[in-house]
Amino acid sequence: MTSSSRRYTIPGSDPARLVTSANPVGRRDFLRTGAAIASAAVSGVVGAAVPARAAESAAPWQKVPGTPAGAYGQPSEFEKSVTRHVIRAYPEIAPGVGSTLSPIQSFHGTITPSGLHFVRNHNGTPSIDPAQHRLLIHGLVKRPLMFTVAALSRYPTITRTYFIECAGNSGRNLAPQPQQISAGVLHGLISNTEWTGIPLSLLLEEAGLEPGAAWLLAEGADSASMSRSVPMEKALDDAMIALYQNGERLRPDQGYPVRLFLPGWEGNMNVKWLRRLKVTDGPTHTKDETSKYTDPLRDGKALQFTYEMGVKSVITQPSSGMKLDGYGFHEISGMAWSGAGRIRRVEVSTDGGTTWKDAALHGQQLSKSVVRFRFPWEWNGAPAVLQSRATDEKGNVQPARAVWLARYAVDARFHNNSIASWELGADGSVKNVYA
């Protein structure tokens, strides 16, 4: 639970005298108290009820000097439970292979803190000395070029806020039975941060594209040498060589010191620790664009190069594993995003998709970026099934689970953007369900 969902109490004060909406101070009481204070001030007489030292009404931490600010800030010790969920598929033989999911059930705005950004690594995070790292651009170019990180850092940069989502996000919601795990463990391979970097088109222009230059092969400097093919159209459109995230250098988990960023496209293509870009005339058909990240269909074929992440939303408050403390007002809130552009609309259903109402969109509504949606709701105490459905500016609508499932083979596990459902029990408990 995060602080905002706790009841706010003032340490050292008498809870019985707290001003709450259920027990407001009467206007008459207020006037009487005010008059007494005013007359004491005028006469200079201190009443017996006024303590000799302010300390008696102060919180403990008001009476001792605080700790000096550290060199790098950390969250409150009371927020220690807000962490990423670490999944290591092969902890003994390959601990670096796995996913680390964002605790989206604890997020309230649109920006993901850098330390809570999800991570999907194919063989761990390398420790890269930026002084020794190089980016090579070669292949179908007039001038094969090598860039140092220092040189890249002198280029003009752009700053954009974009989401990045792993193509395997929400794969756990394709299990035969709905798993009773948090929203973050189910859907937390999504994060949204500010990225600063060089438009890739600048560097490609410097190298000079040769006729027939149609694709790129992007390769990382990790121990998986992760590689993906990228169509030139994307490279020349909004692709970025990212150097900074949320105002500081990229974190090692996010590709320090250089990352390829392809706004709105599946996370795996945003090659971290970028070391090489080879301009080619066709796709290279690497392991991660053939055997993985492809979408198998029921007829035995598989869709390949399914890059753009589909329009999607998920309710984060309340969500799986939480418990509503009583009926009455509750705000339903969540995240929505689309690889195709801006989110235009998010609807919320509290009856399992029978009826829908528009939620309010908050935060800057940027292209390929997370928006926060909020929906005020009076819970009458009856069981309910909560869903959200996003629509983007291109008119794409988030599909129902059954519609999504019908498109793909039984073992499909990538690009699941279907509607997620939370069942609210009469006792206030929230469960993951398939509806």
Partner: protein, 185 residues
């Protein structure tokens, strides 16, 4: 009352303000061209270029057979991929040919991967996970031949090299439909 001169001044100021506003929008791209890339040495470029496309361009000298590859496999691969590619704890490498259109598809190198060049490329760059890039090119050819052989795709003594590997027709060669340029989903 506006004189023509005053009116012109207002128009000029308004024009300046609007041009400032448009030249500073978030969408504008930088115009500066620092040109700080250094000419890359051709020898270095070819040494770094380890990606192998389906036509086999860039495959290195060397060769290997499944028979030779079996030894490499047992020594370097079997502890993760099981006996004869059966899998566990990591991915199975064998089996599933003909299963993709059924309700129990099994996706392995043999049944699913469209190109043998991808196998060579991936083994050379990333395997074994505990010691990536530790295999010689000869060993990569040999172990690729072995994985193809246990799937019944090449013979035990077929020589895999820069010429023959790209010519291997994988069972699922035509099993992929390109989604690029993107269609609406």
């Amino acid at each position: 009352m506006f004189t023509p001169e005053r009116l012109a001044g207002v128009v000029i100021v308004a024009g300046l303000m609007s041009s400032c506003a448009t030249s500073r929008t978030e969408e504008s791209l930088p115009s500066a061209r620092p040109n700080l890339g250094l000419a890359a040495d051709p020898t270095l470029v070819s040494a770094w270029d380890i990606s192998i496309p389906p036509n086999g361009a860039g495959l290195p000298p060397g060769s290997g057979t499944a028979k030779q590859g079996a030894l490499v496999y047992v020594a370097k691969c079997q502890s993760c991929h099981g006996e004869r590619g059966a899998g566990k704890p990591m991915d199975a490498l064998v089996g599933g040919i003909g299963s993709l259109a059924t309700d129990k598809p099994v996706r392995t190198v043999g049944s699913f991967w469209p190109y043998a060049t991808t196998l060579f490329d991936y083994v050379r760059r990333a395997m074994p996970t505990t010691a990536p890039m530790s295999l010689t090119n000869e060993e990569v050819y040999a172990v690729s031949a072995y994985i193809l052989n246990i799937n019944g795709i090449v013979g035990e003594n077929d020589i895999m090299n820069a010429q023959t590997l790209a010519g291997v027709k994988m069972p699922n060669r035509d099993g992929f439909i390109s989604d690029w340029p993107a269609r609406r989903r």
